[in-house]
Amino acid sequence: DAMVIQNPRYQVTQFGKPVTLSCSQTLNHNVMYWYQQKSSQAPKLLFHYYDKDFNNEADTPDNFQSRRPNTSFCFLDIRSPGLGDAAMYLCATSGTESSYNEQFFGPGTRLTVL
């Protein structure tokens, strides 16, 4: 089945220690998104890629970076995690950049910062 895969499912890091989260997709979608979701809150868009075109949300902290080496893979790098960065990180894909289209989500990575 075509799907969105995130690794690891659970990540524990120490305050200030860089961490990388991974997302891969078999849907062959052009667009990949990274969201941050804290408990009982709406998913908050951090950035997205349309093919290799990177689009950053205005309020995404510089501490968050992303890479998309090819169509299938996308990475979220948190350079110096703080306690406030503990959250669920969701990767999603979409066939086009238009907001007509539904997004398909991966299972998420739960990040804990000690």
Partner: protein
């Protein structure tokens, strides 16, 4: 700025007790309204897309409807396995990405 407000924040039902969840939205130009289901510790699972006022879609015990200002997710005779958080999101002509609401946490007790 797009806004999506979901109510109630939490809802507890008895098995078989039908109810509705509300999603109110403000957008400059609606391109689509999306409903997702999210189980604890998992990513959102796509349920429905609605594009225009008056449109309705159904899936098992769920039925989604759309007006110019809000959408309802009707749950008929719910079962405990329907327990989850239901998220609403809108797409706008002026934005590339969806705007999500905070969700309604539904608990169905046997």
């Amino acid at each position: 700025e797009d806004q999506v407000t979901q109510s109630p924040e939490a809802l507890r039902l008895q098995e078989g007790e039908s109810s509705s969840l509300n999603c109110s939205y403000t957008v400059s130009g609606l391109r689509g309204l999306f409903w997702y289901r999210q189980d604890p510790g998992k990513g959102p699972e796509f349920l429905f897309t609605l594009y225009s006022a008056g449109e309705e879609k159904e899936k098992e015990r769920l039925k989604a409807t759309l007006t110019k200002k809000e959408s309802f997710l009707h749950i008929t005779a719910p079962k405990p396995e329907d327990s989850a958080t239901y998220l609403c999101a809108v797409g706008d002509t002026g934005r590339r990405a969806l705007t999500f609401g905070s969700g309604t946490r539904l608990q169905v007790q046997p």
